[in-house]
Symmetry: C2
Subunit: 240 residues, 2 copies
């Protein structure tokens, strides 16, 4: 866990601060120590502290308010839903879909999953099937894989405790915060098994979204593959 001593100090301080936030030593909504205080306690110049804070502000972990202080950003679960759930109905509605976890089990990682999650081929993973519905109509059938090592607490949870969104649960119960993700979209004719789940005809065009979600430490946290009828959905992306 020893950080590379050749990393710049502002990088090491940034990692230190991420750890404090992850450990809930600095809690969302709270102010962190002032730049002066940090510079003294870490023995760094204020400018160096500023650079570390700059990084975390850019990453969205901290928020600065002139004259008031610097605060740990409160995870906005609505916003994060829409950050990651880019589908919407043609009417532009963006409601949180109802979620039903159909299955959850701990299994040996299939090799493709282990490779994607960058874990050992002998590691265990949590595998889930989940159905997402709007107004009781199935919209997405999801398969989800989580590395057991990070999400052991989740494997033991009563499924009734899990609401419609997983990321808040990851955060509160497993201390795993999703910071970024990559998504790959394709279109395929839906297979018989998923057609049954989605209550559509086999062979209907379906959108497939594969999402790999990463934590603030840039390690893969979750892999999911979601399928839904292509006719219903709109996907938006920004390119910078």
């Amino acid at each position: 866990m020893q950080a590379d001593g050749r990393l710049p100090r502002y990088q090491r301080l940034r990692d230190e601060m991420v750890a404090l936030i992850a450990a809930r030593h600095w809690r969302p909504g709270e102010a962190i120590p002032t730049e002066q205080a940090l510079s003294q306690s870490y023995g760094l110049a204020v400018g160096t502290v500023r650079k570390a804070v700059d990084l975390l502000v850019a990453e969205g972990l901290l928020e600065r308010f002139q004259g008031r202080g610097t605060f740990v950003r409160r995870a906005n679960f609505d916003a994060s839903l829409f950050r990651f759930f880019r589908f919407q109905t043609r009417q532009g509605e963006r409601r949180i879909p109802e979620s039903r976890i159909l299955r959850r089990e701990v299994v040996d990682a299939p090799s493709a999953v282990a490779a994607t999650l960058q874990i050992s081929r002998t590691a265990r993973v949590i595998q889930m099937s989940r159905l997402r519905l709007i107004d009781g109509v199935p919209m997405l059938a999801e398969e989800i894989w989580l590395p057991y090592a990070r999400f052991a607490a989740f494997a033991k949870m009563d499924l009734d405790e899990v609401g419609d969104l997983l990321y808040p649960v990851y955060e509160t119960h497993c201390n795993q915060i999703v910071a970024s993700a990559t998504e790959t979209l394709t279109v395929e004719a839906i297979g018989a098994r998923h057609a049954r789940l989605l209550n559509i005809e086999p062979g209907t065009p379906a959108v497939v979204i594969e999402r790999l979600a990463f934590g603030y430490d840039r390690q893969p946290l979750e892999w999911r593959r979601s399928r839904g009828p292509a006719s219903e959905f709109i996907y938006q992306a920004e390119i910078r």
Copy 2:
């Protein structure tokens, strides 16, 4: 054109440098003056110059190389193609498709186009149809709209001068640089007209990508709608 004197100096310097780049006083691929030289000629501390350069590096206009200098980013047309052309074949091939402009005319802006491009309802626009092919096989049928005011030079160009990529032409002939874009993906059954262009059966599932491209001034530059057979394509996006 007088910049607001209340803006921080690094902001004003950043704006100054953007102007120099836009005016092609500093040209793509060339090194800009060293931080020392800039600090002297503008009468600023090196740290302040650094902050301005930091901004432009973050915006992608400049590139820094330790020990060599800071360079105006050469629009890497390959890279920019793949920044904006996120489709690829299932084999992972990412080749530049051949382009054929089928039609180009200057017309009154349809109201939806005027609204999207944020121009007057009485403004003129350039409208284009374009076909993109790989190995002679049609992959995408595109409709493109450009505000005439910014792209007048393009309207007069010989189409033989236009290569397979439009953004480089916008840059060299119209001084319009695409900095960012939003894309909206949907799937539809292809209509008869586009089916003919793409040489597929009417009703085949097709991906529709609507892209609105913006300049560095955050004004809309181009609106395009591309359609291609859904079976062929993969779309990748990053969420941050």
